[in-house]
């Protein structure tokens, strides 16, 4: 193949000009496709670098990653990272998206002009299954043999020329993780790639005739080859009417006839549904003999086996798993601490600096008490989020995540879920939003909804700020062996969430979501060194996502809250307060004046809009040990749980009579109950509040995503009712039980 890059004139390049757009105006769409674990996303990151954005396919919450890539000719193309898939006959919403995009059935994502198909060169034969299905669709394809270095090391020699001949598409060896062959791939992407004419499937004449007759009645799509149309006809034949995109595509009279045709084929050729899989694998064997040779014995298999003997051992496997999970949560606290201290000090100095350089008044109050305090209290937790996602992406990239699911499947099975539900649930420890979205890889609807319903019980990173604040303020740093009491408390909160999730899943699976267990198949990928670049990009993306939320939602809520907490003011009572303070000052009684100032600030807050709504809530939450200040933060934390921290900061800053920027932890410890004069919050209050945060549904974004995932209001409403009543009952039990035992 030539390494020259030529820019063809646009009229040649554009395969199916869209009506109303000039050829030049339309940017070329290139898609990256491959099996799960083929290194697809690493290649995507390698080709796009920092120019990528993550969105969603409309109607479903399958992640849509789009980036930009400049080719050697200087031409820019849009690069689409399609979800990993095993087959063009979809078994999950992810795979359905891939099928729809490729066949041009997705109204918003046009069929790509070029597809870069990524295979793991060490597992070429099984990855060729999807490659051959794809090539037969008749779109231009470039085959990238990823991990070519690993294949060489294992003694697998792939003859690129022979492979090109057999498949009819350009082939390039690359290593996405190490950056090998990327230049050649980019030059190939710059060329005009012709669709392949190769055909791999042998169909029985009877099946072929039926598909021909169905395909002749389907609407014409100019981008599909004849064999691609046969594929669509076959997909229609296999579908049992649940596939919306197919149903929209096929005319109604065709759909009616499909049932008759299916029954006829069932009579004469009982194997017709699976014959094509068999024939593709026969074709693969031909290609493999032609293009691949092996020398020596693979060491990788032996190494993998040695590792798996320990990591999936009946005793050492689960033990390693538990120790690893414990270590992860301990690290989140310990590793992030230095960076958090630094941010804490920075924010404090900024608050003091701004406060001392501005005239006191409403604007100064807005900036210091509203904006800096609110956003600062949230930014401080970015280090923890970074550490957690760093560890989780390493687990994913090394292949351990799949072993964890393998070990957990039986246990998840106890509550009627598959090991696959483990990964969405584990992701929910960072944030329930991606976790709930990750649940789309679960084929079975009942399993998926159960997983979605219990995902918010996993303690997400937005709860971490709340736990960190309360543990830092109220749990002594006692050492117990190698652990510390704060660490143990944190672990217990995570554990409580898991226990609640198991309970709810068990209940749901016996009531609203009864049904048999679905098919479960999961790949156990080889152990690999992670691509640090991809790991770091994931960490960066998650942190940015959190910061964007901090920058918009939290800032907005902080300002609204500052307003609610400082208005409408005290009016005539305020004037009386000021007079009394003045009198005290003239009399030289500074203590009295300071006490009056505190009292005035307290009165102002109690009288504010926020104070009034918090007080309205007080009778309901008093049995849980919460006062109206916590009540306010429970209201505001519905925007996002971490807002609780900034709310408390704002509320306490206003309550304070301006002695500077005291840390919120100290203020919580120092807060006094106005009636008794004793500490307003005890360690027992802190535990009760944490338990409430573990269990309550306090996140607008979660509710919104559940609504979108389940496509009905039924599940999100059920979730709010179920989680909040559970939270109230559990906190009530903790607080009242603790008091009976004489704690706090």
């Amino acid at each position: 193949m030539s390494n020259h890059s030529e820019v063809a004139s646009p009229d040649v390049r554009v395969i199916h000009p869209l009506p109303g757009t000039s050829d030049e105006a339309r940017r070329q769409q290139v898609a990256i496709l491959g099996n799960p674990n083929s290194g697809k996303s690493t290649l995507f990151n390698r080709l796009t670098g920092l120019r990528q954005k993550v969105g969603n396919y409309s109607g479903v919450t399958v992640e849509k990653k789009v980036g930009q890539c400049t080719l050697p000719s200087g031409r820019r193309v849009d690069l689409l990272d399609l979800p990993g898939t095993y087959s063009l006959h979809p078994g999950s919403p992810d795979e359905m998206i891939v099928r729809d995009v490729l066949f041009g059935l997705n109204p918003e994502t046009p069929s790509p002009d070029l597809i870069v198909f990524v295979v793991d060169a060490t597992q070429l034969d099984r990855h060729l299954f999807l490659a051959m299905q794809l090539i037969e669709v008749g779109r231009p394809v470039v085959l990238a043999l990823n991990m070519c270095d690993a294949a060489e090391a294992e003694g697998i020699h792939i003859d690129e020329m022979a492979l090109e001949q057999s498949l009819g598409v350009p082939v390039v060896s690359i290593s996405a993780a190490k950056g090998v062959g990327i230049g050649t791939l980019r030059r190939l992407m710059d060329r005009d790639v012709e669709p392949s004419n190769a055909r791999f499937r042998q169909r029985q004449p009877a099946v072929e005739r039926v598909l021909q007759s169905v395909s002749a009645r389907l609407p014409r799509r100019n981008l599909l080859s004849d064999s691609g149309r046969l594929d669509l006809a076959f997909a229609l034949m296999l579908d049992d009417g649940e596939d919306d995109a197919l149903a929209r595509y096929a005319p109604l009279d065709v759909q009616d006839d499909l049932r008759i045709l299916r029954a006829r084929l069932d009579d004469i050729l009982p194997q017709w549904r699976t014959d094509d899989a068999t024939s593709i694998y026969e074709a693969i064997e031909g290609v493999m003999t032609h293009a691949v040779s092996r020398t020596g014995v693979s060491r990788a298999d032996q190494r993998r086996d040695r590792i798996d003997r320990i990591l999936t051992h009946r005793v050492w496997g689960p033990m390693f798993f538990v120790v690893l999970m414990g270590a992860i949560f301990q690290s989140v606290f310990e590793w992030a601490a230095p960076a958090m201290d630094l941010i804490d000090r920075g924010i404090s100095s900024l608050g003091e600096f701004v406060g001392s350089h501005m005239p006191p008044g409403p604007l100064e109050s807005l900036i210091v008490d509203g904006i800096i305090a609110g956003v600062g209290a949230t930014i401080i937790f970015v280090p923890q989020i970074a550490v957690l996602f760093l560890l989780m992406s390493i687990m994913e990239a090394t292949g351990y995540m799949a072993r964890a699911a393998f070990i957990m499947d039986r246990i998840m099975g106890r509550v009627g879920l598959s090991g696959r539900a483990f990964i969405p649930l584990l992701s929910s420890f960072a944030c329930a939003i991606p976790g709930i979205m990750a649940a789309r890889t679960i084929d079975n609807r009942r399993d998926r909804i159960t997983t979605i319903m219990i995902a918010p019980f996993m303690s997400c990173s937005a709860r971490l700020p709340v736990y960190a604040l309360l543990i830092g303020a109220f749990v002594p740093k006692t050492r117990i062996g190698i652990l510390t009491l704060p660490g143990i408390t944190l672990f217990s909160m995570y554990f409580l969430g898991i226990a609640a999730a198991i309970l709810v899943a068990w209940a749901l699976k016996r009531t609203a979501l009864r049904g048999g267990r679905p098919l479960y198949v999961m790949e156990l990928p080889p152990y690999r060194m992670p691509s640090w670049r991809s790991v770091l990009i994931t960490v960066r993306d998650r942190c940015l996502l959190f910061l964007r939320k901090a920058g918009t939602v939290i800032l907005a809520v902080s300002i609204v809250l500052w307003f609610l907490a400082s208005h409408p003011g005290l009016g005539a009572e305020g004037v009386r307060f000021e007079k009394r303070i003045e009198t005290a000052e003239r009399a030289g009684n500074e203590t009295r004046a300071a006490a009056l100032r505190s009292e005035m600030a307290g009165a102002k807050l109690r009288n504010s809009f926020a104070g009034r709504s918090g007080r309205l809530l007080e009778p309901l939450i008093e049995p849980l040990g919460f006062d109206w200040k916590i009540g306010i933060s429970l209201i505001t934390s519905f925007a996002a749980r971490e807002v609780m921290v900034s709310t408390m900061a704002t509320v306490f800053n206003l309550d304070d009579s301006g002695e500077g920027f005291l840390s919120l932890r100290e203020k919580l410890r120092e807060a006094k109950d106005p009636k008794t004069g004793e500490a307003a919050y005890t360690p027992l209050t802190a535990v009760s509040l944490m338990v409430f945060f573990v269990l309550a549904c306090q996140c607008m974004s979660t509710v919104a995503i559940v609504r979108r995932e389940t496509n009905t209001w039924r599940w999100p409403i059920a979730m709010i009712l179920m989680m909040n009543s559970l939270a109230w009952i559990a906190s009530f039990a903790v607080f009242q039980g603790g008091r009976l035992l004489g704690l706090g």
């Binding site: 095993y86 087959s87 006959h89 078994g91 060490t122 597992q123 034969d125 099984r126 299954f129 296999l238 549904r273 699976t274 899989a277 068999t278 694998y281 993998r304 798996d308 999936t312 051992h313 009946r314 005793v315 496997g317 689960p318 799949a402 699911a405 393998f406 070990i407 499947d409 039986r410 246990i411 099975g413 090991g419 267990r517 098919l519 479960y520 198949v521 999961m522 790949e523 156990l524 990928p525 080889p526």
Partner: protein, 81 residues
Amino acid sequence: MIDPNGWVTLDELTPGGDGVVRGLDGAAGIVRRLMDLGLVPGTVVRHVRCAPLGDPLEILVRGTHLSIRRSEAGKVHVEPL
């Protein structure tokens, strides 16, 4: 149940043992999925090990390690090697 051909189901293979896929039974969707993953008749498959709690199994088919449940492995009929 003793099969006249000496065939067993995949989950009955001893861990570490190989077999040749001879046939699949069960619902069309599940059979289709298993075949998509390479379990077509004539393929050599190995029962590598089972998970710490006895289920699922790890199988090796066409160079790929897959984890499948005993209930599904029971639908794959193999001739032990």
